[in-house]
Amino acid sequence: MIEIHNIHKTFGDKKVLDGVSGVFETGKTNLLLGASGTGKSVLLKCIVGLVKPDIGSVTFDGTYFTNNKLDIRQEIRRKIGMLFQGSALFDSMTVEQNVEFPLKMLSDMPKDERMDRVNFCLQRVGLENSNNKMPSELSGGMKKRVGIARAIAPNCTYLFCDEPNSGLDPLTAIKIDELIAEITEEYGITTIVVTHDMNSVIEIGEKIMFLYEGRKIWEGTRDDILDSNVKELNEFIFANRLMRDAKKVEEEEEEQQRAAQK
């Protein structure tokens, strides 16, 4: 479980995060939802320690992370796997070397065990025969898969995904979402996904935190989200015509049911 408490962050004159608090539960896919520029990625970077919050704290399974001793922070970081928006694969390494990298750097595993683990992870994300490909030879979806394989290779306890389906076609995006949800459930890890994609919300949003102008203004599950009466959230959700139509159909059905009951 990851807890964040009263996170504030300002860049120059711009307040990006304004007292965000919340809990991200273990074994669930937690979503950080919001429009572009609302501070989702900055919040994620504050959680993993890439950006230091001005005020506030982050706790990983009860262990204080922000401003803690370096060795404790390093210990926690070694349990973190992260999928970046652009995948952030190391250009000079093959797929295999990318996935092997955290194992090589962070563990004493012998080479053959490392290779077994690499092959297992690549197989898990559906990239069995891509070991020797370079990142430049991969499609966007494949890069994301390699990114996920690299993130889970060292048996991470916490998985962070920054807009995992940005730049992907809808079908591949759904597959990536499903993969993240499956891995979360399979390994019982705490996953936080930053997204502004309503498909992800519907597909994998077990717990959702909605950010607006650096503040958390709604929290709930995918079952609650369509019935919320928060104006900003509704504007965000129903910006999409399909969602508006779906809502309209739902309302019409409810009205028909009520009429039938009368």
Binding site: I80, G86, M105, L106, F160
Partner: protein
């Protein structure tokens, strides 16, 4: 300016703050040394040979006094090459080649979040990426300078003898005349200083790149400009302190 210098010093400190294991640094250093060495040897060879050749021809052109022996041409080529041309010109060429490569590579890694990926894994990205580059440059630059010295003197020999400005015997007499071994040591000390400056300044510029492709290009350009200025200042300081 002062702010940048302060940031540079903090950056240098961060390389050692929680350095990666010596085995990792060693392996990365060897990789970087091979890259820097192999990728630079051609340009260093071309530049050095022609500088030696041009120095020989131009010295000969200026040497009009019949009382000065022709072997002075060889002597001049040797002195200019060892003291100044080999270490400084080679370093300026390498500032353009290696410096822009380092800044561009690190800048690209920064904007594509590869540096963040290292940090999230708990790896000191500065130590892992930059320290091997600096150590590798300090290992390879003196070797390149030695090659440059050799090729420059050889270039002078070829140019002088082919054009008939000087005989082979005169040239060899000149390059052996009043040889001071300390000058070679001085050139190698300069090469070490220049290697450190070029690698560290270029890494600093690349590491703190933010934005997009345009900023990576700008970081490379700034890295080269700053490195060349630093090399020229250090050249003067070294000459003043060590000669």
């Amino acid at each position: 300016m002062l702010q940048h210098f302060g940031k540079y010093l903090i950056f240098m400190k961060s390389l050692f703050a929680r350095a990666e294991s010596s085995k990792v640094i060693f392996n990365r250093t060897i990789d970087e040394a091979i890259l820097i060495g192999i990728n630079s040897i051609f340009i260093v060879a071309i530049v050095s040979t022609f500088i030696g050749a041009v120095t020989c021809v131009q010295t000969s052109y200026n040497l009009v006094n019949a009382l000065i022996p022709r072997s002075t041409i060889g002597y001049m080529v040797r002195e200019m090459t060892i003291l100044e041309l080999a270490p400084t010109i080679t370093s300026i060429v390498l500032a353009g080649k290696v410096g822009s490569n380092i800044a561009g590579g690190l800048g690209t890694m920064q904007i594509t979040e590869q540096v963040d990926a290292l940090e999230v894994m708990g790896i000191n990205s500065a130590s892992y990426l930059v320290l091997p580059k600096i150590v590798a440059a300090m290992l390879v630059f003196p070797m390149l300078v030695i090659i440059s010295m050799f090729l420059s003197i050889a270039g002078g020999y070829l140019a002088g003898t082919i054009t008939g400005e000087i005989t082979a015997q005169e040239y060899i007499t000149g390059i052996r005349d009043d040889f001071i071994p300390y000058n070679v040591v001085f050139a190698l000390i300069k090469a070490e200083v220049f290697a450190f400056l070029i690698a560290s300044i270029s890494s600093f510029r690349g590491y703190y790149t933010s934005g997009g492709a345009l900023e990576v290009g700008a970081a490379s350009t700034t890295a080269v400009t700053n490195s060349v200025i630093a090399v020229l200042i250090a050249d003067f300081v070294c000459a003043q302190l060590l000669l």
